[in-house]
């Protein structure tokens, strides 16, 4: 690996050195591309997994339970075995459709020309601004990811008595982390009637430590002048309006919010690459090519994955496709759209190109909790793939395989839909 080496033109430029960028670069190399640069704004490769020190990563891929840094390290090691350039502490500022990548680092601002680009910028946490909590704005309020960074990378504990707003996985993981470090986590408050986190995280992060999870509850007041001194949470009705008389008061010095992740796409927008309003990432074909020829996208920048194992798998598809694009050039497409039907929040890939070989794994999320349901993929009035689920929840991404023979016969858009009570 050419550490911190950067020329001004490359066959492939990968933006982001997290699990997605690493897997994409390795796969592009292994599929024949040679002239590759990975750009990462941080001092080290590995992305957000550097601060995810808990275990449970890699069960699908490596059949063992790794911590985040260990999982990333496996890919960094593979990257180092190949002639792939890496530019650290270098931030991409913008991108154009003809693949000029503008970057900034200590040496200045440069424009790199690429023949193909892979977007792998990951996701960011939804900010509190969107939450609209009444009350003052004292210190002691952090996103769960920021607290994770403080504790796990800087060794700094942000507080001692904690209330967590939102039951996303990062919030749950942080409930356990702070408890282990001696803090008292008083409550996790979730506005929905179900948790958006994985069941195993509820069990091992909350139940193990008797931390109460209040479903259908939200924070209705934050107290404190300079620093948080307490919060009130209230139960909400079906319209998510607080119900009077259900208030619970907690004395705390810290509030963490874990209210979801949004794909990071400032760079994608700068190049006017079409985004999907549902996934909030670029619209992609099954090879993870965006609607702009030669620009690919993978990992959390196109859909927020629960599992990094799937990020790696998806990014290998993008890397391979970028290599094919470099070696064979752009190809004609003949595509149909995928549509989220009843009870389905989104479907990815957004388009299926019939000229591409191989099966396609559809990723999607259901919109609420469903029991005894069947999920169908329908095209031209015909069910072309289907699966039964005893229970389906929004917190867990679903997948279904569309076989190549079915794809070849597609003449119409395809819809994924869920039917209850079967």
């Amino acid at each position: 690996m050419g550490e911190n080496k950067m020329k001004l033109n490359y066959d492939i430029v990968v933006i982001g050195g997290g699990p997605a960028g690493l897997a994409a670069a390795i796969s592009a190399y292994d599929n024949g591309a040679r002239d590759i640069l990975v750009i990462e704004r941080e001092k080290r490769l590995g992305g957000i997994l550097r601060q995810c020190i808990h275990n449970g990563f890699g069960l699908t891929r490596f059949k063992e339970s790794l911590s985040g840094p260990e999982y990333s390290a496996r890919f960094i090691e593979e990257l180092k075995k190949r002639e792939i350039d890496v530019a650290l502490e270098t931030t991409v500022l913008s991108l154009t459709q003809d693949k000029k990548v503008q970057v900034i680092n200590e040496q200045g601002v440069f424009t790199i020309s690429a023949k193909a680009v892979i977007l792998a910028m990951g996701c960011r946490e939804r900010s509190r601004g969107a939450l609209n909590i009444p009350g003052s704005r004292p210190a002691g309020i952090y996103s769960a990811g920021t607290a994770q960074k403080y504790i796990n990378l800087n060794g700094y504990m942000p507080g001692k008595r904690v209330v967590i707003l939102g039951s996303g996985d990062i919030g749950l993981i942080m409930a356990r982390r702070m408890t282990l470090e001696g803090a008292k986590v008083l409550a996790v408050s979730e506005i929905m009637p179900y948790s958006s986190g994985l069941k195993r995280n509820i069990v091992q992060c909350l139940n193990d430590f008797d931390i109460p999870l209040y479903l259908s509850h939200t924070i209705t007041e934050i107290r404190g002048d300079k620093r948080v001194t307490g919060v009130t949470i209230s139960q909400v009705d079906e319209n998510k309006r607080p119900i009077k008389g259900t208030e619970k008061h907690f004395e705390c010095d810290t509030i963490l919010f874990s209210v979801g992740l949004i794909p990071e796409n400032e760079i994608t927008k700068s190049a006017n690459i079409p985004l999907s309003p549902r996934t909030r990432g670029a619209v992609v074909y099954q090879n993870r090519e965006t609607l702009v020829d030669g620009i690919f996208a993978c990992g959390n920048t196109i859909q927020v994955h629960d599992l990094v194992d799937f990020v790696s798998e998806e990014s290998e598809i993008a890397g391979k496709a970028a290599a094919t694009y470099i070696l064979e050039g752009a190809k004609e497409k003949d595509s149909v759209a995928t549509i989220n039907g009843n009870n389905i929040g989104y479907v990815l890939p957004h388009r299926i190109d019939k000229n591409q070989k191989g099966h396609v794994k559809l990723f999607f999320r259901v919109t609420s909790t469903f029991r005894n349901c069947v999920i169908n993929v329908v095209s031209g009035g015909e069910v072309i793939a289907s699966k039964k689920r005893n229970i389906a929840v929004p917190g867990e991404m679903e997948t279904l395989i569309l076989t190549q023979d079915k794809i070849a016969l597609l003449s119409d858009d395809i819809t994924v839909e869920l039917k209850e009570g079967v």
Partner: protein
């Protein structure tokens, strides 16, 4: 003879299978609902003596911190005791993934680095 049924959620993988265990005299005699053998082992252990891997950080002499884990699950009831021991550990850089920082931190488990620090 005491017999009862316990419902557990397997935490071994993100599938989070709901497992039912029939317990007799403190041991699992029948496990159902698991999708794989890891789930069976988890349930059998969980009804006898729950164990967890601890993941946390350790201070370095240079002021930095490095992430660590116990190389095997430790008794859940000993987790806080072991955490206190871990918080007293100060290691010196450089540290590499897999380095054993403490041979026996409790319950026979070693404390192992899970990241590199120079």
């Amino acid at each position: 003879m005491s017999e009862n049924i316990k419902n557990l959620t397997c935490i071994e993988c993100p599938m989070g299978c709901s497992i039912t265990v029939r317990v007799e005299n403190g041991v699992a005699i029948e496990v159902s609902g698991n999708n794989c053998v890891r789930g069976k082992l988890y349930a059998e252990n969980e009804v006898v003596c729950p164990k967890r891997v601890i993941t946390t950080t350790v201070r370095l002499t240079n002021g930095d911190v490095v992430s660590v884990k116990t190389n095997m699950p430790v008794e859940k009831s000993k987790v806080f005791e072991i955490m206190q021991k871990i918080n007293k550990v100060v290691a010196s850089a450089p540290v590499r993934i897999g380095d054993v920082l403490v041979e026996d931190i409790g319950c026979g488990a070693s404390l192992v680095a899970t990241d590199d620090r120079d």
